[in-house]
Amino acid sequence: MLPIGHYLFLSLALFLLGVIGVITRRNVIVVLMSIELILNAVNINLVAFSRLYGDVAGQVFALFIIADAAAEAAVGLGIIIAFFRNRETVLADEMDLLKW
């Protein structure tokens, strides 16, 4: 079995990649996907610690996070579709109106 540090570093790398994606990409869909990546990094941590302490609480929280990710994806993609229908674009820097 691997020491927990490896998992932490993997999680960190995924997290940072996600952050870079969120900040730099213009395509909102990719931004959303980057957020999924961040959530996933958190999941790795949770499950790894859950294994470390032999307690399923971490896994339960990972479950909650997955459910949360599903909710977020559904709403986010709904917004994107509505936006695309009105503005014909999915680029973040063209989303400059609060209401249309």
């Binding site: 079995m1 691997l2 020491p3 927990i4 540090g5 932490l8 993997l10 960190l12 995924l14 997290f15 940072l16 990649l17 952050v19 900040i23 730099t24 990409r25 213009r26 395509n27 869909i29 990719v30 959303l32 996907m33 980057s34 999924e36 990546l37 996933n40 999941n43 790795i44 499950v47 294994r51 470390l52 302490y53 399923v56 609480a57 896994q59 339960v60 990972a62 479950l63 909650f64 997955i66 459910a67 949360d68 990710a69 599903a70 909710a71 977020e72 994806a73 559904a74 709403v75 993609l77 709904g78 917004i79 579709i81 509505a82 695309f84 674009t89 999915v90 680029l91 973040a92 820097d93």
Partner: protein
Amino acid sequence: MVTRRNAVHSAIFLIATLLATAGIFLQLRAEFIFIVQIILYVGGIMVLFIFVIMLVNLDVALHQIKFARQKWVALIVTLALTAQIGLLFWTTGKMPGQGFPILTAAPVNRLPPNAEAVAKSLFSSYLLPFEIVSVLLLVAMIGAVVMAKKRT
């Protein structure tokens, strides 16, 4: 995943990442989370993503610059976070890979069936959060339907 110009390629790489993560969960003996990750994340959320990517025509997005002008912000944030973690390691005085507790806390064959354990925990100690999550999902569902519905 972050550097692909084509969003479908990004999605494919994300799927690969998620599957790999699922593999890690399996390795960590979290079978239930493993399968939930596959069914929900890969089989559900990512299908939704690809669906939407296909719906919003990509020909437009393809020809545009993929990165916004926030490269420097990203770099700074990343460096800051890395530095933070590095500092953490520094203060604990341990190098990565050494001195960390090793994950052999419980012998494999003495673990209760994972799905059962998770379920027991979920429906006893975490019942309230569970219900809240279900309400959240319901709200998200309604929200998504309202958002995506065609305005006539």
